[in-house]
Symmetry: C2
Subunit: 337 residues, 2 copies
């Protein structure tokens, strides 16, 4: 039976939420991964040292200590002073910038990404070697939002050459191309954007569990993402953007955006890389690229993935809270040992 051992797998973009949802989903990531970049879009957003430390402790309380899992904490981007950043530096791994109102709980985000106005904060981050993670979408037409944001990424990359800029959850060929153009641009790619296009969301019946932001794009875009991920290119990392919502919030009118992939992400990635004859590049995508980009010390944790069928649970439940994973009730071809 085919298998692969991955040392120190990382999920470089993860939503763990809070309270009951945190308790339900955090163990599903900590079981397989050795660490994850945890998004700060709680209500209210995580934007103080106290909030970072407190959230980190709530995450650690929600998982098993012997899971050997590190939550890499992030701060919700706002104009911060250098003193504030120096003080908080050791508690965070990155700062996440959301354009205002662009996705779940981003209402307090940045109204206008002005490289002059944001320079004090971004220069301080570059000096302190704090990467900037960006949700790169305009508020334009849904299929063009990421493409329209390329000029903002380009302006940031040029204005702040020493700042590491992570283009989060890229979904387009345009983003793949821009990424290659500037040394200080990096990107995360989700599992679902390697698999689906808008056809899977709205081409047949409407599929709320595959509805996410950024929305899945065209076959050409999906193929460009697959190509760069499979190649092991050192500028791209796996970031699931696994975004749990209660079943009722996904299956009602006005369905919330997000695909819940945390419990099956590594297994399905192994399947994709294997089916494309690129299993040898999987560790780069889910571990070593991230270690280099973020200067992470690899942990001693490793996970073995085996080519063995696994029936994905229809739902993950706790305390009356129910979340539907991608591939709910379906068989995937790889499992964790």
């Amino acid at each position: 039976m085919k298998s692969i051992e991955i040392n120190s797998p990382y999920d470089m973009h993860l939503h763990l939420r809070d309270n009951d949802m945190l308790k339900l989903v955090a163990p599903l990531s900590s079981k397989s991964f050795s660490g994850a970049i945890v998004m700060p879009n709680l209500v209210p957003p995580v934007d103080t040292k106290e909030a970072v430390i407190s959230y980190k402790n709530r995450i650690l309380d929600a998982i098993e200590a012997d899971d050997n899992f590190t939550p890499f904490m992030t701060l919700f981007f706002k104009p911060y002073t250098k003193e504030f950043l120096e003080d908080i530096k050791d508690e965070i791994t990155a700062i996440k910038l959301y354009p205002a109102g662009i996705t779940t709980n981003s209402e307090g985000g940045v109204e206008s990404i002005d490289t002059v106005a944001l320079a004090p904060t971004l220069n301080a981050m570059a000096e302190l070697n704090i990467p900037l993670c960006v949700h790169g979408e305009t508020n334009g037409f849904v299929m063009d939002r990421e493409k329209e944001f390329m000029s903002v990424y380009e302006a940031l990359a040029i204005a702040f050459p020493k700042l590491k800029i992570i283009m989060e959850h890229i979904t387009t060929k345009d983003a793949v191309e821009l990424l290659k153009k500037y040394d200080n641009l990096y990107a995360t790619i989700t599992l679902h954007h390697l698999l689906i296009t808008l056809d899977d969301v709205a081409g047949g019946m409407l599929q709320p569990h595959l509805f996410c932001k950024p929305i899945a794009k065209t076959p050409i875009d999906r193929d460009a993402l697959l190509e760069i991920a499979l190649s092991g290119n050192p500028k791209v990392m796996f970031g699931s953007d696994s975004a749990p919502h209660p079943q009722e919030a996904k299956e009602s009118c006005g369905c919330a955006a997000g695909v819940f992939t945390a419990p099956i992400a590594l297994q399905v990635l192994a399947q994709i890389f294997d089916e494309n004859g690129k299993l040898d590049n999987l560790e780069a995508f889910v571990s070593t690229n991230a270690s280099k980009i973020y200067n992470l010390k690899p942990s001693s944790k490793s996970i073995t993935l085996i080519q063995k069928e696994f029936l994905v649970p229809t739902a993950y439940e706790n305390n009356g809270l129910k979340v539907i994973p991608m591939f709910s009730g379906q068989i995937i071809k790889w499992s964790t040992e």
Copy 2:
């Protein structure tokens, strides 16, 4: 108070379904319209003279006799002989072609639109002056399906110059442009495609009640549709494609495609034409263009629309069946008298 009297308003593309749904929705169309082209995609499809006559009688049974409403019956396209068409001619107004599997109950549609293979039927239709209504989508990427179908429309328009071809529920600038190119091409446009884009369906939260086939496209496409509809161009007619589904089929995983607009269509069209200073062209769009294209004798029925606010019911219900209309629970600016 501003008002306009429309003589003989027609809905040139309407789904009335059958059984309880027919009883619920047919009176909502027959009240305002003097006639409608009724789609034949029942289960099984309407493809015999007996089925046409029987369905017509069920429709007439579902409405008030003094509504003075004519259901213009259609046949589900298949290869038919000239003898069959001669015999059924007086019972039908058009024949509707569906590519197989492209929308609700279209599984028995045409696998391949081959102008040679279909020539006997289409030539007979041209001779007997039976228009061909077409659901013009390929099974490609959801945003490109109509655009990709343009070559099929073009091949049909060239091969059968005497056949009237109706491009049903067009949604793209490409279709608007092709329409102008061939004398024997005409089109219907829905209410919802004059109003919404993919942004309204999937740009914020996911909105199942605005999910339809063909899917709403880009702002450029929507503007092209608006422009030609408002202009009174004699090649375009109003066809609501009002497509009721039970509330539970719209608000569940795997939501069915269709927007239910029948009860508010004329009122909202009056609002759109008025807001664009084109109220004088409304009668062309909803009546006289259709009369000319289909050689219909205008009925004596007329309807007066007035600029007076109307609170749209949250749902239309009968016998436990509940259908949610577009603008459910919202105020629209025009009413029927």
